[in-house]
Symmetry: C2
Subunit: 288 residues, 2 copies
């Protein structure tokens, strides 16, 4: 069993991005510029945006966080989005979710210029991705592909079982892995799937993205499978100083011995997401 080290892969990718930015700047080019829009003062969102800002600096991007008050109206936010769409110095930007309740998130997402939509949430990017056209792929599915690529894990003709049908993870990764170049046979299963354990047990590659702590047990996993755990659930714990710990969707201790490769939680898919955003921003700087 080999542990997939998301931190190592993220560091390697970060280094590659920093080198490309260095070359760009040495040639007299403007570095990529990423803006994050943060509405209100949600604690988790502040942390996420902080991480994005920090990594932007590390890879040599210009970055800016636009902090707007919780009282920002939808119209005001749309005006900000229009301004960012028009700003030729901004290559890509994200509007950190969730937004305050009085704002329609989908409305905001669809107002973002798809060519600056480095989160890859705009329907046009989702469609382009689904059609195999150049697109900004959203962070988690892109991160999973980077892990598979880094470890040279064979995918062609392999049976990949995706558990979970969310728009952010399950659907896009199912689609991507069935495309030419990856060439997996892909099964997508979910809460309504009959005989789910038997379906999952067919997977040469299992991607668990349903959001239920330790759902995938050893009996569901084929000997030698590659297991990618996207889940992250915070549970109370008496053994940690913080009083809580993070669990994935996979019962790691019993599943890991059966696997050829497995991602830990934390430290697997998690560290990949911010670096995927950086990849998209570099891509935006160059033009899709």
């Amino acid at each position: 069993m080999k542990l997939i080290d998301g931190k190592e892969v993220a560091a390697a990718l970060r280094k590659g991005i920093a080198a490309e930015v260095g070359t760009m700047v040495a040639a007299g080019g403007r570095p990529p510029c990423l803006v994050a829009v943060l509405v209100g003062d949600d604690g988790a969102s502040q942390t996420y945006v902080g991480n994005k800002e920090k990594m932007s600096a590390e890879v040599g991007f210009r970055s800016q966080v636009l902090r707007l008050p919780d009282s920002t109206t939808q119209e005001e936010l749309l005006a900000e989005v229009a301004r960012l769409n028009a700003d030729t110095e901004v290559d890509g930007y994200i509007v950190q979710m969730p937004l305050p309740r009085h704002i329609d998130e989908q409305r905001i997402i669809e107002a973002i210029d798809p060519r600056k939509d480095v989160d890859g949430f705009h329907p046009e990017n989702v469609g382009r991705m689904a059609m195999g056209l150049p697109a900004f792929v959203s962070a988690t599915p892109d991160g999973i592909l980077s892990l598979l690529r880094y470890y040279n894990i064979p995918t062609a003709g392999k049976h990949c079982v995706v558990i979970g049908r969310s728009n952010t993870v399950g659907r896009p990764i199912a689609n991507l892995l069935s495309q030419k170049g990856w060439d997996c046979t892909v099964t997508i299963c979910h809460s309504r799937t009959a005989n789910l354990p038997q379906v999952v047990a067919q997977g040469d590659i299992v991607i668990a993205a349903l959001g239920r702590a330790e759902f995938v047990t050893a009996d569901m996993v084929k000997e030698g499978a590659v297991v990618i755990d996207v889940g992250i659930t915070r549970v109370a714990s008496e053994t940690t100083k913080s009083g809580w710990r993070l669990l994935g969707d996979v019962k790691f201790d019993e599943v890991a011995p059966r696997c050829s490769y497995i991602t830990p939680v934390p430290g697997g898919v998690g560290p990949m997401t911010v670096v995927s955003l950086m990849k998209n921003t570099l891509k935006a700087r160059r033009g899709l």
Copy 2:
């Protein structure tokens, strides 16, 4: 075994659309208006467009065919597309494919206003469909859903195996059937799939959309399965007057006795496609 009669379903849907248009017009509304753009004089395209024009008239739509010469430049076609986007009397329009070689088809598709894209080929519609948002679903996948609905074929928790990963059929139908409301477990397989016959044999519902005549044989089909045959290949024949006949992707004679439901070729999925275009045009008239 029950034969799925595409002609019957299409006629029923056509009748429903005509009734809705009748109500709309009786209330003083303008009937839906569909325009087809036909570039050049490809024989098959002329036939397809002719069928669309005929059915538009039957359901009470206004329709128009814009015939442009084979020598039309990309710029001229883009200008026509811009004109149709701006024309408030046109609810939806299609640009009949294939286009002459000197025109970039993808460029034209992406220039169509997604709200008038009744073929459902624009990436924004593909993305909206994939995300479960209101969208124009393209004709063949929408036609398949209509067949399943008309015959009240249960789908929730069933395992659906889709053979073929095209952007026009395999990918969208795989996505749609995995969505809430349909709730299938979906496997998508293709030319690179290992042990394809065994994978297909798991399907409670099999959708054959790979474009290889009589590829699906009896040994690949589970007893009692529902088989939807999207294939249509013209082969030479000494037994028909025309000198050719149409074959599906399924070896009908040997597969049919094993099925609970099966579509014939022709007369199954084929008749559904034009009526799906009519559904989309009515939807465009009302606003997505």
